[in-house]
């Protein structure tokens, strides 16, 4: 796998400048290697054990990465198109609550598997509604996505709390438990689902016309429109995709904890946004890759788990992730300067 930033140096650059550019482009990989090395050395010295080469650690990091990715994958598509979707934090919660409520209401009547299926559909349907509203606000009413999705963030949060009656909606469903905790050949379900979605989103963004159009819209909306691309429809689809991946995150949450909670996605929102920007996306749009976002999500998961592992107060993870976001933006800026890209 390679991250195709497409920023290889034009001819005429000095070797030093080329090296610097390569470092800036690949910094997230480098950074990941560095923090893994850091925690490994720490573990060897202070705990007398390995950090990376323990199945339990890898699995924990994998599940944490999957949780972040479910919010970050759709967000990546939206950010490449030059927008942002803040509502996903509570779209996740809304989907989780919707699924739990439906399962609780119909489980004894229709049987576990059917209840799970209908519950999942209800969760996804709730998510799609949020996505459609976001798309309508941004594409048709030209509301800046930052403000528009902040508004739907509030609405989705309120709706999730209202339908859940302000409480956590617990369920008893073996089928749902499997969705969140089961494994297939030792591969945990959340990780498996995240991998499938990563492949799907990567294909969509890197290998389809839809993906090319997403980059074109992010770089120059007018040029995309003049090239005959239906930009409004495209944006609506992007926001729906973003809501659906976040909604799938909510379904897994309900399965994992046998309960739907309105704030299921809230703590992950910051991490998801961070993963996208650490992964090479830019607030100005037109840049970013799914593979980059995956690396970003792994970095955050390693920091999260690594800090807990090394016995530091868990609150340090907020500090660490915050600092990494700032570094990501600084790297993005200096890369733009070096490549002469004024955005």
């Amino acid at each position: 796998m390679t991250v195709s930033h497409d920023f290889s140096a034009p001819r005429g650059d000095s070797a030093g400048k080329r090296l610097l550019k390569a470092l800036l482009n690949g910094w997230s990989w480098l950074f990941l290697a560095l923090i893994l090395a850091f925690f490994e050395i720490y573990a060897q010295h202070n705990v007398g054990t390995t950090f990376i080469f323990r199945a339990y650690n890898i699995q924990s990091i994998g599940v944490a990465t999957a949780q972040i990715l479910l919010l970050a994958l759709g967000l990546t598509l939206v950010v490449v198109a030059g927008h942002i979707d803040l509502s996903i934090g509570f779209t996740t919660g809304l989907a989780a609550v919707a699924m739990a409520l439906v399962i609780r209401a119909i489980d004894p009547a229709v049987g576990g598997l059917a209840a799970l299926f209908i519950g999942m559909l209800a969760g996804i349907f709730a998510a799609i509604l949020v996505g459609l509203v976001n798309g309508w606000l941004v594409a048709s009413l030209n509301v800046p996505s930052f403000i528009g999705t902040l508004g739907t963030y509030g609405v989705a949060r309120g709706m999730a709390l209202i339908v859940a009656g302000g409480a956590t909606v617990s369920i008893r469903s073996e089928e749902a438990r499997f969705l969140g905790n089961g494994d297939i050949y030792g591969m945990e379900m959340p990780i498996l689902i995240a991998i499938v979605l990563v492949i799907g989103c990567h294909y969509l963004l890197a290998h389809t016309k839809f993906g090319v159009h997403t980059y074109a819209i992010g770089a120059n909306r007018a040029s995309a429109e003049r090239a005959g691309i239906n930009v409004k429809r495209h944006l609506v689809i992007l926001f729906v995709l973003s809501a659906v991946t976040a909604g799938i995150g909510g379904l897994i949450y309900t399965g994992r904890f046998s309960a739907g909670a309105a704030n299921a996605g809230e703590p992950i929102l910051l991490y998801a946004v961070a993963a996208v920007f650490i992964g090479g996306a830019s607030l100005t749009g037109g840049q970013g890759t799914v593979i980059g976002t995956v690396i970003g999500a792994i970095i955050i998961a390693v920091i999260q788990f690594g800090l807990v592992f090394s016995g530091l107060p868990p609150y340090w993870q907020f500090v660490a992730v915050g600092l990494v976001i700032i570094v990501a933006v600084l790297v993005d800026q200096s890369r733009d300067k070096l490549t002469g890209h004024l955005s």
Binding site: K209, S223, E225, G286, Q287, G340, H341
Partner: protein, 245 residues
């Protein structure tokens, strides 16, 4: 001479209370370059936006090869054979030459029945078309923001040639270019004309106007102030017409 490629009849456009263009009529024949000249705000851009489908005229019609195109969306106008090259170039800076050439009409190839965007194929096509125009892009895999203004303009023109446009509309194509690059673009316009392509060129640069035009249509305050052949007029008269005198 064959019939006209494009006939614009009584085109008018209002934006709220402002009448940007009023009763503009003209025709363009194959292999002919018609220059729309005029000062800023004379309505030149509004006229071409009505022809390319960006704006719908308030009144009047436009026919291309005898078929009415008034009110058609930009993609339909382009598919009919009219390519528009905008002042701000209409390129997606973060994409390479190939994707820009094919933007909105990308080539795909199937691998096990799954379609993949064919970046290499489009890049190769783009390199070929540009070579034919005498333009060498050092590394076609780079995003086009690395290219010079002239090269970028050439990509926009290559798009017109590649898609076999029969009418090319250019909005101030040399505005952002250095002198040698301006010359290259003027040479490209001659090539298009030699191929029988009709051209509508928007300009307020007098040397460009006289170098490229077969006919000059001067707009002032949204109306046609006069129509001249370059051989029958001079700088002074054109300027006087542009000022609305």
């Amino acid at each position: 001479m064959t019939g006209p490629l494009l006939e614009a009849e009584h085109l008018s456009k209002r934006f709220g209370g402002v009448e940007a263009v009023r009763d503009v009529s003209f025709a363009v024949y194959p292999g002919e370059c018609v220059v729309l000249a005029g000062d800023n705000g004379a309505g030149k851009s509004t006229v071409i936006k009505m022809l390319s489908g960006v704006h719908e005229p308030t009144a009047g019609t436009a026919r291309f090869e005898g078929k009415e195109i008034t009110g058609e969306p930009p993609s339909a106008v382009r598919d009919a054979g009219i390519e528009t090259i905008y002042q701000d170039l209409a390129l997606a800076d973060n994409l390479d030459v190939g994707l820009n050439l094919y933007l909105g009409r990308e080539k795909t190839r199937a691998i096990f029945g799954i379609p993949f965007v064919d970046r290499k194929g489009m890049r190769a096509d783009a390199t070929k078309v540009l070579e034919r125009l005498g333009i060498v892009v050092p590394n076609p895999a780079l995003p086009v923001h690395n290219l010079s203004g002239g090269q970028r303009q050439a990509i926009a023109i290559a798009r017109a040639i590649h898609w076999k446009a029969r009418l090319v509309i250019m909005d101030e194509p040399t505005a952002a270019l250095g002198v040698p690059e301006q010359r290259e673009v003027m040479a490209l316009i001659e090539r298009l004309k030699a191929d029988g392509v009709g051209i509508i060129l928007i300009s307020h640069n007098l040397p460009d106007i006289f170098a490229a035009a077969d006919r000059i249509i001067v707009l002032a305050r949204g109306r046609v102030a006069g129509e001249r052949r370059p051989s029958e007029t001079n700088d002074e008269e054109i300027v006087r017409l542009m000022m609305g005198g």
